[in-house]
């Protein structure tokens, strides 16, 4: 029973990592950059929803939809203003940009008087509800995350596998020059990707809000989602989820059975071991340039 409950909370926590990792993988697959701003986008999304509910008194669902919409717009704008001008520069520049965007987002939010430095709650309708399954306690907040993660993963997977748009996104990340030659509107697609990533982030932010609260530094949880994405294989969507679950469960069990300090380092130890054994993660394909 104990073990089951631990597994359950591990899975729930793992889905959180997986959900955030989805955002990383989405951006990576479509642009081959690693976005360090994903956590901050999540934070902004949560703040947007919070603003909708607390400042404008909107009902949750409406606020959520508006927040997603706002974040999509924000993502597109972000791409337009800061990422597009250096499109084509080494990917590392863009990684640095995302770090900068993270700083700016945190700074801006912190600067909002009376709100930015505080911690807030998002009054979701299912707050603090639990389901009891015999002795097992199911947390509705966590169930929502599990559900959303599965749905999002499915949708994104289908997009990349079957839609022309999704394939074109991958194409432009693999060889931008050739993508231009094919008439793929690389810039527009990039904007779309960032919009999508911001939407995913907003959803993650709102789902996370009941658990981690809404505050300027909530994005740091993204640092644990990196190992999740890597364990799964960075370019794989299902990998992100599986990686998240692995990390979540290991963390949960390590926290209970191992001495203090292991819970928080466990994900990183797992990721190192993983890279030793399978350098490309669980689902990442082995890639080698053919010469």
């Amino acid at each position: 029973m104990q073990l089951l409950q631990l597994l359950l909370s591990g899975i729930a926590q793992g889905c959180i990592y997986g959900l955030i990792a989805l955002g990383f993988v989405l951006i990576y697959k479509a642009t081959e950059t690693v976005s360090f701003a994903q956590g901050e986008l999540m934070m902004l999304g949560a703040f947007a929803a919070f603003a909708g509910m607390s400042l404008f008194g909107l009902p949750f669902w409406l606020a959520a939809l508006l927040a997603i919409g706002a974040m999509v717009a924000f993502g597109v704008l972000l791409e337009l203003v800061v990422i597009r001008p250096i499109l084509g520069q080494p990917q590392f520049s863009i990684v640095m940009l995302t770090i900068g965007i993270g700083y700016v987002a945190r700074g801006l939010i912190t600067m909002i008087p009376a709100i930015g430095t505080e911690t807030h709650t998002l009054a979701v309708p299912y707050k603090d509800e639990i389901w009891k399954l015999g002795e097992l306690v199911l947390n509705v907040e966590q169930m929502a995350i599990i559900l959303a993660t599965a749905v999002l993963c499915g949708l994104l997977f289908a997009m990349f596998r079957y839609s022309k748009l999704g394939i074109a996104m991958q194409a432009s990340s693999q060889n931008q020059l050739a993508a231009y030659y094919m008439g793929i509107p690389v810039k527009r697609l990039n904007g779309l990707v960032w919009g999508l990533a911001a939407a995913v982030a907003a959803i993650a932010g709102m789902l996370l809000a009941p658990i981690t609260f809404v505050h300027a530094n909530m994005g740091f949880i993204g640092l644990k989602a990196f190992p999740a994405a890597v364990v799964g294989g960075f370019g794989s969507l299902p990998g992100a989820i599986v990686g998240g679950l692995v990390i979540g469960i290991v963390e949960s069990l390590a926290g209970f059975y191992l001495p203090d300090g292991f819970k928080d380092t466990a994900p990183y130890i797992v990721v190192l071991v993983m890279l030793m054994v399978k350098p490309n993660g669980l689902f990442g394909e082995k890639l080698r340039k053919k010469v």
């Binding site: 394939i167 074109a168 693999q174 020059l177 094919m182 008439g183 340039k289």
Partner: protein, 267 residues
Amino acid sequence: MPPRTREDHKVTDTVLQLLNVESAYGPIKAIRGVSLKVRQGEIATVLGSNGAGKTTILKTISGIIDPRKGSIEFRGQNITAKDPAYIVQQGLSHVPEGREVFPLLSVRDNLLMGAYTRKDRDGVARDIETVFGYFPILKERATQDAGLLSGGQQQMLAISRAIMAAPQLILLDEPSLGLSPKLTKEIFEIVVRINRERGTTILLVEQNANMALNASDYGYVLENGRIVMEDTCERLREKEDIKEFYLGLKDDGVRGERRWKKKKTWR
């Protein structure tokens, strides 16, 4: 059929026109004031030695490089320094130098990306079959990652991809690069066929001048970024310089001289 001349085309209009185009990489000017015309339904070729700027001309046309000066017109529309995606949508496609396939996409997805600007699904499906007909090996490897193909197979894919766009004008940058002699010939046959059957206009850059001059109607000769000669291919083939420098038709005595290179000047 009698040899065609430029005059035959008087009635048909110009598909592509470059006027005084100048492009540079940073401080290095690669082409200096190039003007050329490609007419509807013809195959034009640009000859030139290494580094003459042939690739640069093609890149400038498809918007990969913005020219410093001059203008480019495609089907009566000014496309100077437009976004490459926009230019392709106008009906121009480019087989780039050095293949440039999407290495992690399957061969089929690569072909589909070639048809990105097209809306007619049926036409696309038909054209996939057509190019599979041209290059059966691609059909065999349809699900394999394109990056794992051999060099020549990638070249076939790159050409097929351009055909998939069903364009008005194809820019071909050294299509025979790395192809076997048999396939090289086939490629040119295909090029000519596409030109004749679909009326696709073609601008061809090719090291294999013999092939190029045979397949094309009109030719330009580029040296150091400038066009130094232009004429119908018939006439170009007869020119002594062309024979000597591009077709390799000259006596070994002259060639032999070149072996005694001047010793280095640096130090």
